[in-house]
C-alpha cells in the first residue's frame, strides 16, 4: 500500500530493492554482507546481555567508543600489518567494555537501571565523536569533520579482491559460533542463561552470584559492540567521522530479538536486516522510494517475531498458572 501510494510501479520498486540488496554480486558482497558484519557482532553482544537479563540498549555508544579507540590506535601505532590491526581491534573491544562498564558501575553502586544509563551513554558517545572530529582528532587541513585515514597496516585485509568485503566478516562468523558454543557448552554460559531466566533460582538452587554474572555479561556485550566499531573502522571507513554508524547499535537490538537471542540465528537475522537496509537504499536510489519504508518493514518483522514468541510462551504459561493454583489449594 505504502509503496503504491508513492506512484511508482511495483515491479520497478521490487527490482530496485532486489538489485540493491542481493540481486547483484556487488550489492550482495560489497553492500549486504559488509553491512551484516557490525549487525552480527553487536547483535551477538546484545544477545549475551539480554540472555543474562541485562538490557543493554547502549550498543551504539559502545560501538562508537570502539571506533574511537581503533582510530586512535590506527593513527598512532605501527607494529607491522598483522599486529597493528590486531591491536586496534583489541583496543576497540576494551573501549567498548569500558563504555559498558560505566553502566555496570552505576548499576552496582547506585542501582541505576542499565536501560537508562546505556541509552544516555549513547548520546554521550555520539557527542564525543562530534567533538573529536572537529577538535583534537580532526584531519590536518581542518576542513572536514573527520580524522585522517588510518595507515594501511591498521586495516583489515580484503577477502575478495575488487570488493569491499573484508576479514571482519570472518571475525563475525567466528564470534557468532564462539558465543553459541560458550553459551550452550560452558559453565559460564550456563550461569549466564540461568541468571537471566530466573535470578532467584540461579541464586538459591545454583548459588550463582547473579549480580557478578550480570556485570560480566554487560562488559562482554560492550566489548563485542566496541569490537564491531573497531572492525568498521579497520575494514570500511578507515577513519572516524560523525554518522560512522547508521544506527548499527540500535538495529542490532532488533537483529538479536529477530534471532531469538540465539547467536547462530543472529547470523541469519543480521543478513536479513542488512539486505533490507541495502535494498531500501537501492529503492531510494533507483525508484525514489523513501528508505523509511525499510524501517517500517524492519519494525513489522520485529513485531511479528516478538508477537509469535509471546504467543507461544503465553499458551503454556496459562497451563502452568492453572497447575500452580491447583497445588496451592490442595
Amino acid at each position: 500500500m505504502m509503496l503504491l501510494e508513492q506512484g511508482a510501479g511495483v515491479v520497478r520498486i521490487l527490482d530496485a530493492f532486489w538489485r540493491g540488496s542481493v540481486g547483484t554480486s556487488s550489492a550482495l558482497i560489497s553492500g549486504t554482507l559488509v553491512r551484516a558484519v557490525p549487525l552480527t557482532v553487536v547483535g551477538v553482544g546484545i544477545a549475551i546481555a539480554f540472555r543474562a537479563g541485562v538490557f543493554n540498549i547502549g550498543g551504539e555508544g559502545q560501538l562508537l567508543a570502539g571506533a574511537i579507540a581503533a582510530t586512535l590506535t590506527g593513527l598512532n601505532m605501527d607494529a607491522g600489518p598483522a599486529l597493528t590491526v590486531l591491536a586496534a581491534l583489541v583496543m576497540a573491544a576494551i573501549a567498548g567494555a569500558a563504555w559498558a562498564g560505566v553502566a555496570a558501575l552505576l548499576r552496582a553502586r547506585f542501582g541505576v537501571l542499565e536501560v537508562i544509563s546505556t541509552i544516555m551513554l549513547n548520546f554521550i558517545a555520539a557527542n564525543l565523536v562530534s567533538y573529536l572530529v572537529r577538535g583534537p582528532m580532526q584531519e590536518p587541513t581542518h576542513i572536514y569533520p573527520q580524522t585522517e585515514l588510518i595507515a594501511p597496516v591498521a586495516r583489515l585485509p580484503r577477502l575478495l579482491p575488487q570488493t569491499r568485503l573484508h576479514a571482519g566478516a570472518l571475525i563475525a562468523v567466528i564470534i557468532a559460533i564462539a558465543a553459541w558454543w560458550v553459551m550452550t557448552r560452558t559453565a559460564a554460559g550456563f550461569r549466564l542463561r540461568a541468571a537471566g531466566a530466573s535470578a532467584s533460582a540461579a541464586r538459591t538452587a545454583g548459588r550463582i552470584d547473579v549480580s557478578r554474572v550480570a556485570a560480566m555479561a554487560l562488559l562482554t556485550s560492550g566489548a563485542f559492540a566496541g569490537l564491531a566499531g573497531g572492525i568498521e573502522v579497520a575494514g570500511v571507513t578507515f577513519g572516524l567521522y560523525e554518522n560512522l554508524s547508521p544506527g548499527y547499535g540500535f538495529s542490532a537490538i532488533a537483529v538479536a530479538i529477530l534471532g531469538r537471542l540465539h547467536p547462530l540465528a543472529i547470523l541469519g537475522s543480521a543478513f536479513v536486516f542488512a539486505a533490507l537496509e541495502t535494498g531500501a537504499l537501492g529503492m531510494q536510489r533507483d525508484a525514489g522510494v523513501p528508505s523509511v519504508v525499510a524501517s517500517a518493514i524492519e519494525a513489522m518483522a520485529i513485531l511479528l517475531v516478538v508477537g509469535a514468541g509471546a504467543w507461544s510462551r503465553w499458551m503454556p504459561r496459562r497451563s502452568v498458572g492453572a497447575r500452580v493454583s491447583a497445588d496451592g489449594a490442595a
Partner: protein
C-alpha cells in the same frame, strides 16, 4: 471523631460457614460474631481456616453454606464490591500495591471516574490525617518501607468507607517497634468506634490489644470468649488441642543423635533483606543422622535461620560452621528451586552451577538426570522436557533427586511437601528419613506442626528471633511457638 455507627451492635456476623476446596473442607460450620467498636482476634494454626473465613467476609470467596451479615444486613456474598460498600475493608498479608506508582496514585486505584491528582491528594491527606496515619504523598511506593505500605493499605480501605478493618497477620513482617505502633493505632481506631478483626499467630498481641478472641482449629471454631481473664496458656491449648499424634500418622524417628557435629552455630545473628535482625544469638549443633524439625509461626525469623543454615544468607555476627555438601529444598520451588522453561537436564545442572568451571558435558549431565529420574520415580517424557511440563509432585521429586545426589552432609528442607498430595508427601518424608539414615544431618521446617513432630528427632522452636530446643511434644512445642512459657 467516630469512625462508624453501630458501636453497640454487631458489626460482622458469620453463621454456619462451610467451605470446601475439592475434597478438603477448609471451614466446617464456622461462626464468628464481631461486636462493633471492638478488636476481635482470630487465631489458629496455619491452615486452620482463618484467612479463608476472612476472605469470605470480604467477598473474595463464596460459601458452600452459611450466611454473612454486615451491620445487620445479609450479604449475598462473593462480591468484594458488596462487602466494601457495606463497610468492610481487608488489608492482606501480602500487600497489593503497585511499586512503580506513587502513594497518591496507588490510593486512587480502584476509584471511579477521572483521575484528578489534586482531588485525590486532598482526599488522601484528609483520610490519613483523620486516621492518624501519616502518608507522604507523591512518593513511589517502591521507596516506602513495609510499614508505610501497610499504612497506605489501611488508609485506602478507610477512604472507601471501611468501618470494619480486617488485618491479616499485619505484624508478621514488622520490626518490634513497628508492631507496637500498629497495636496502639488499632486500640485508638476501636476507641473511636471502628471495628478490627485481627488475624494473627501471636498470643501476646491478642492479650495486648483484643477485646474478644475466636480460635479456629481445622476449620471449626473451638473457642470464642472475651480476652479479659484469658491466659496465653488457655489459648495455646485451644489452638493446638490436646494429644500429640499427628493426622498423617507418622512416627517420630528414633535415631539417637550421636553422629559428628556437621553444623555448628554459635551466637549467630541473622537479618532479613531489609536489614532487620530476625535471628538473635542462635546457638545450636546439628549432628549426622538426626532430623531436626524447626517449628515456628510465620514471621518468627525461622526463614532466615533456614537460609543461614543452608549457606544462603551470611550471618551478621557469631559463628556458623557448615559442611561442604549441602542440599537445599526451598519453600517456593517454582521460584527458587528450578527454572520452569529449562529442561530437566538443565535444571539438574543448576546445582553447583555457581562454582562449576570449564565445559559442561551435557551427555554426562543427561545421564545423571536420567538416573535421578529413575531413582526418584519422576514421571517425565524425557530429560529434555521443560520442567514446567511436570506436575508439582514430580517437580519436587526432580528437585530432591538433584539435591540428594552424591555426597550430602546436610539437607535443609523448607516446607518440602507444600502443595503435594498424600503420596508425594509420603515420598518426601521417606527421602528425608533415608538421607538421615545414610548419615546426613537433616533440618526441616513445615508450617504444619504435625508434620514437623512426625518427622523430627529433635525440635527447635523459633519464637521472635530466639531459637530454643524443645521436647518433641505437641503441647510444649505449640506453646513455645506462641511464646507461652
Amino acid at each position: 471523631m467516630t469512625v462508624g455507627a453501630a458501636v453497640d451492635g454487631v458489626a460482622l456476623q458469620l453463621r454456619g460457614i462451610i467451605k470446601r476446596f475439592g475434597a478438603v473442607t477448609a471451614l466446617d460450620r464456622a461462626h464468628l460474631t464481631v461486636r462493633g467498636g471492638t478488636v476481635h482476634a482470630l487465631v489458629g494454626e496455619n491452615g486452620a481456616g482463618k484467612s479463608t473465613l476472612m476472605r469470605i467476609a470480604a467477598g473474595l470467596e463464596t460459601v458452600d453454606a452459611g450466611s454473612v451479615e454486615l451491620f445487620g444486613r445479609r450479604a449475598r456474598g462473593g462480591s468484594v464490591a458488596e462487602s466494601a460498600a457495606s463497610g468492610l475493608g481487608m488489608v492482606h498479608q501480602h500487600l497489593s500495591l503497585v511499586p512503580a506508582l506513587t502513594t497518591t496514585e496507588n490510593f486512587a486505584l480502584g476509584r471511579h471516574g477521572l483521575y484528578r491528582g489534586d482531588a485525590v491528594g486532598a482526599l488522601l491527606a484528609r483520610t490519613s490525617a483523620d486516621a492518624g496515619l501519616s502518608i507522604t504523598p507523591d512518593v513511589p511506593v517502591s521507596e516506602l518501607s513495609i510499614v508505610e505500605q501497610q499504612r497506605l493499605e489501611i488508609v485506602k480501605a478507610l477512604a472507601r468507607g471501611a468501618r470494619i478493618l480486617v488485618l491479616d497477620e499485619p505484624t508478621a513482617v514488622l520490626a518490634p517497634q513497628e508492631v507496637q505502633d500498629l497495636l496502639s493505632w488499632i486500640r485508638r481506631f476501636a476507641a473511636r468506634g471502628g471495628t478490627i478483626v485481627l488475624v494473627t499467630h501471636k498470643l501476646r498481641e491478642v492479650i495486648a490489644v483484643a477485646d474478644d478472641v475466636t480460635v479456629l482449629r481445622r476449620g471449626a471454631v473451638v473457642l470464642t470468649r472475651a480476652v479479659a481473664g484469658a491466659s496465653e496458656e488457655a489459648l495455646a491449648d485451644a489452638i493446638f488441642g490436646q494429644g500429640a499424634v499427628g493426622p498423617n500418622g507418622t512416627q517420630p524417628s528414633s535415631a539417637a543423635p550421636n553422629g559428628d557435629v556437621v553444623v555448628h552455630v554459635d551466637a549467630m545473628d541473622v537479618s532479613d533483606l531489609r536489614g532487620v535482625t530476625r535471628i538473635r544469638a542462635a546457638t545450636l549443633d546439628i549432628r549426622r543422622g538426626e532430623i531436626v524439625g524447626v517449628a515456628a509461626v510465620e514471621g518468627s525469623g525461622h526463614r532466615e535461620l533456614m537460609l543461614a543454615v543452608a549457606g544462603l544468607r551470611a550471618p551478621d555476627s557469631g559463628r556458623l560452621v557448615l559442611p561442604r555438601g549441602i542440599a537445599f529444598v526451598p519453600a517456593d520451588r517454582a521460584r527458587d528451586a528450578m527454572i520452569p522453561e529449562f529442561s530437566l537436564t538443565e535444571n539438574f545442572a543448576l546445582r553447583g552451577a555457581g562454582s562449576r568451571r570449564g565445559v559442561i558435558s551435557w551427555p554426562d549431565m543427561t545421564q545423571r538426570t536420567r538416573a535421578g529420574i529413575a531413582r526418584f520415580e519422576v514421571v517425565a517424557s524425557s530429560p529434555a522436557a521443560p520442567a514446567r511440563s511436570l506436575s508439582g509432585g514430580n517437580q519436587q521429586r526432580l528437585i530432591l533427586a538433584r539435591e540428594l545426589e552424591g555426597d550430602v552432609d546436610l539437607v535443609v528442607a523448607d516446607n518440602p511437601t507444600r502443595g503435594l498430595d498424600a503420596r508425594g508427601t509420603r515420598f518426601v518424608h521417606e527421602q528425608l528419613r533415608a538421607a538421615a539414615a545414610r548419615g546426613a544431618a537433616v533440618v526441616m521446617h513445615s508450617s504444619d506442626l504435625d508434620e514437623v513432630l512426625g518427622l523430627a528427632s529433635r525440635v527447635l522452636v523459633v519464637h521472635h528471633g530466639t531459637v530454643r530446643e524443645q521436647p518433641v511434644d505437641r503441647d510444649v512445642v505449640g506453646r513455645a511457638m506462641l511464646g507461652v512459657e
